[in-house]
Symmetry: C2
Subunit: 201 residues, 2 copies
């Protein structure tokens, strides 16, 4: 953008980290940004009052604002959003193409954990293709960390290293507690899904 | 079990595919099995009326019953439950140990997708350690398929193969629709999470 802007116009990129798997104006709702974080990545030369005006705009919508460098934003989003989306898309793709287990079985028994992944794997394909093409470096770096750790976990399973598994599975609980305490997640079990599902309805 | 049973006692293993990330009797609720599937894996010699009695028990709780061989059950659960749990535990572990991104940042910006993974990564560590130790072969097989597909996806990103990404991201949507139509998931966006979160509450 920068080279195309007149001198008296300031460009303050903002990324609200909020939303659902649905897209477009109809998918919005009044509380969409309430309590969520919005990241601003103003270039160094940006006028402070332009940044403050954008901050006030997002705070007016109920969001909390954090300012960081654009390349740091790309790393933060790679691990908190892009790689999670990639592995969700991937597990759903893997499950759909097995010889031993049918698609019908995958759908029936999805309540064992799989179905949570299908939510973000139902996000807009065009937007997510472009995310991966444009944040390639940060995604590949974080994906490398993920697969390195997954390989270690695979090895622990193969060699029956129960303590290593138990240690990881215990530490990950603390992260969830932190996210709930930060107001970014509901503490209701199973996301508080309505449990009285009538399959004949 | 089998060698220890008197001749007039029948052992009919049953696995209800239902539950939340919470454990123990207090985590139960009346509709827990409503519309969910319960898998029975009776050994071949089991008396049919013993199987029917167990089926009636689960159907009485509101579940739907499917009968399959125990080794097929292990494969089905590996892809629909065990590998999803493993990669959820893994991404949460990876995110917690980065130099470039702080834990505080991971928690703040978790709404970008990451937080969904933390739910199942908050499941009981003892039970899940034992699941991986006892279903090792099926888990390693399905995990091999997952990482093979993920490597292909990583390569597509590195070489900017946008069409390959778009195709996968489109196909995965159909699986989610199937799960919703099978009554195993809510169609509400973002799981119908309550959206008016007050972080100061």
């Amino acid at each position: 953008m920068q080279p195309h802007l007149p001198r008296n116009v300031h460009f303050v990129p903002a990324h609200p980290v909020a939303g659902t798997e649905q897209s477009g104006p109809e998918a919005g709702f009044a509380e969409l940004f309430q309590g969520r974080w919005c990241i601003l990545t103003p270039p160094e030369a940006t006028a402070p009052d332009a940044v403050e005006r954008v901050r006030a705009f997002w705070e007016g919508l109920g969001a909390q604002v954090e300012i960081m460098a654009a390349d740091h934003h790309d790393l933060v989003l790679a691990i908190t959003s892009h790689v999670p989306h990639l592995i969700a898309y991937n597990i759903v793709g893997t499950a759909a193409h097995l010889e031993q287990v049918t698609q019908s079985e995958v759908m029936k028994f999805a309540a064992g954990g799989f179905r949570d992944f299908t939510r973000i794997a139902a996000s807009d394909p065009t937007m997510w293709r472009d995310v991966f093409l444009h944040n390639k470096d940060a995604v590949l770096e974080m994906l490398g960390r993920f697969t390195e750790d997954l390989t270690a976990l695979q090895r622990a399973i193969r060699w029956s290293e129960g303590d290593a598994l138990f240690d990881l599975f215990t530490r990950t609980r603390a992260i969830r507690r932190g996210i709930i305490e930060a107001g970014q997640e509901t503490a209701a079990p199973d996301f508080g899904r309505t449990h009285a599902v009538d399959p004949s309805a």
